[in-house]
């Protein structure tokens, strides 16, 4: 592994400087205090994709996100949607997606086929395969709602047109799925973006099932669900 000494030296010098002594020193000159409302560092002078009003977030500078591989991914999707693992996805209704057809892209291994070690990194087809598994699982959940309704979709009437974005019902669905996939509440921004999926490109109401599927797909195939 190659190193570049000049940037490292500069980094060390900068860390050594600015020793104002405040634990928040790294968040700004003079160790500015965090935002009282959010607990987050003060505004980022370089701008923020969430908009000028959003609380500033310190980027992780030494992050090493791990990739959720096949068994964990399968377990988490299964838990999020209250489905048995083998009900999530089968290609052509027969071949298991996670532990069979797409085992390699999902980071699996199988001594019987000679795949002795899991891939170290996501493959090129991993994002597509993740979408397939999530979409199949979401569809399986929608199908199951017809015979055994649950609270996965917060009681949304899947057969009726989706309620308007921003309504209690759409917010409840987004909140339910966000909690199930991310174990947290959605932000205002997320409620707005995902609630907007209740409408199609022509602004007409999507079917309830289609709305649920779109939100389910968007959340389940996001990097926040796949990495930790």
């Amino acid at each position: 592994m190659r190193t570049s000494s000049a940037p490292l030296t500069m980094l060390m010098l900068l860390c050594a400087c600015g020793s104002e002594g405040s634990p928040a020193g790294a968040f700004g000159p003079g160790g500015a205090q965090p935002d009282a409302a959010t607990g987050m560092p003060p505004g980022d002078p370089d701008g923020d994709p969430a908009g000028p009003g959003a609380p500033s977030i310190a980027r992780s500078t030494r992050s090493s996100l791990q990739w959720k591989r096949y068994a964990t991914f399968e377990a988490d999707v299964s838990a999020a949607l209250d489905l048995a693992p083998d009900a999530l996805c089968r290609e052509f209704g027969e071949e298991p997606c996670v532990r069979g057809v797409h085992l390699g892209p999902l980071g699996g291994h199988d001594v019987r086929t000679g795949l002795l070690e899991s891939p170290a990194e996501p493959l090129i087809t991993t994002p597509t395969v993740v979408e397939r598994v999530v979409l199949s699982a979401c569809l399986a959940r929608v199908d199951k709602e017809r015979s055994a309704p649950s609270q996965v979709f917060a009681g949304l009437d899947l057969a009726a047109p989706a309620p308007p974005p921003g309504s209690d019902a759409t917010n409840a669905l987004v909140t339910s799925l966000t909690r199930r996939f991310f174990a947290r509440d959605p932000s205002t921004d997320e409620l707005e973006h995902l609630g907007g999926l209740a409408r199609g490109a022509d602004a007409s109401a999507e079917a309830g099932a289609a709305f649920a599927l779109k939100v389910c797909l968007a959340l389940g195939s996001s990097s926040e669900f796949l990495f930790f």
Binding site: E91, D143, H193, A201
Partner: protein, 495 residues
Amino acid sequence: MSFNSPSLSRRTLLRMASAAAALGVFNPSGARTEDALRPVDPKDRKLLFILGAWGGASIIDSFMPVAEGEVGDFFASLGLNVFPDAQLVRPAQTSFRVPGQLGAYGIFAKPSFTIEQFATKHGRDIAVVAHDVSSVNHSVAQQRSLNGAGINRGRTLMEAMALRYGGGMVLPNCNMASDGYVRHGADPSVPVEARHELVTSPRLFALGTHGSRGIPGALSAAQIGAARAARDALEQRSLFGRTFADDARRARYLSNRAGVTAKLEEASVVDKLMLVDPASVDPRYGVRIDPLTEVVRKALPDLDTDHQQAQVALAFLLAHHGISTSVTFGFTQDAFVTKAGVVGAPIAFDFSHNSHRQAQSVMWARTLGLLDVLIDLLKTHDYMGDPALGKMWDRSLVYVATEFGRDKARPALSDSWGTGHDLNNGSLLISPLLRGNAVYGGVDPRTCLTYGFDPDTGKPVPGTVMNESDVYGIIAHALDLDSPSTRRYPGVVRG
């Protein structure tokens, strides 16, 4: 400039320095600028097909056999892996001798395809290279057969191919093999785009190139697009997204998703690579098949049940459609059984531990039978379907990679015996880019040990020992790969 300058805050400098340091230690693309994939005109591309002959495919049981009468000592010949004189045949218009079929195959089905048939048909493009290897460990030796024992900065042949020709291809390097044949090379500077894409299920691999095709009841393309757009917007705006915006692994994942996934779907790769017979699948799955695949299915009629046939089919399609420049496939440890009997030995060539001669005969027949179909397809189809680009075969090289040879000794007078791993062997290369119809090196009939050759003239030189780096070098020379540590082999390579 002071650290407190309003135009360049200390936080900004910290971030820039840390990003620069991170780039120096771990480039998100893993590559030096000069090693990034550069697009190559299709007319200049080459194709490499590697079959991992798992378990030790012995060259003296195929293209360099020794006759009993050549040993020069009758009693010594009884204890060597040699063939009765009458059992060796010389295929028409070739310079090889190969063993004919055995009289009995024990538990195995008698092969329907022979080494002789293969040599007769493709002899002019066959180059047999005698060499030693440096490990008798399966996994280690498999890796070394592909990376030349590290001769080219630890890069595998497939990575070198992707770096040379893979620019602009969506999946330049695909690998369906197993064990050590699916290990990446040791060079960390190789960009991830050049590392192989693992294919677990060749028959259904096509489905992994599309996010929704083949899923009944799925959303429309517009609805999926809307879901993706909402997701992608939130990736940038969420707390998680903003916190880990600089994470290299996540960044690469998002880049692939935004770039390559879209390309795969827009190019309908799913249809081009679909191997399943639509008539065998419920119409609600919406399976469509490319007309070329119909041809491939006819050439490989058992691909629905024969894993290796499915691999060959996919390898051909990946190359034909300009998706890959290098495809690796090969045997696993599973036996393959048909109504005729066992046609693929359990643990492949390594079944030689139990029954050397039968295992070698059956597995060489299976290997060459598969390659015969592949080469026929390559010879009869234009690259990317464009007559101006010529037949695929004109730009192809097939390499039968294997770990090692097998013991040269046998229990005296035995017709059936077991062998262990042996460092001495040879490799089979098939390509019009090589000076074919030739054996490079020779075999000492007193010991059955092979020896090497002069790389400049191709003439055998008793006592010379070639090794994995020479095989790598020959392939690198033939395919014009970037391999500064290997020499040239004008005695073996054309042009």
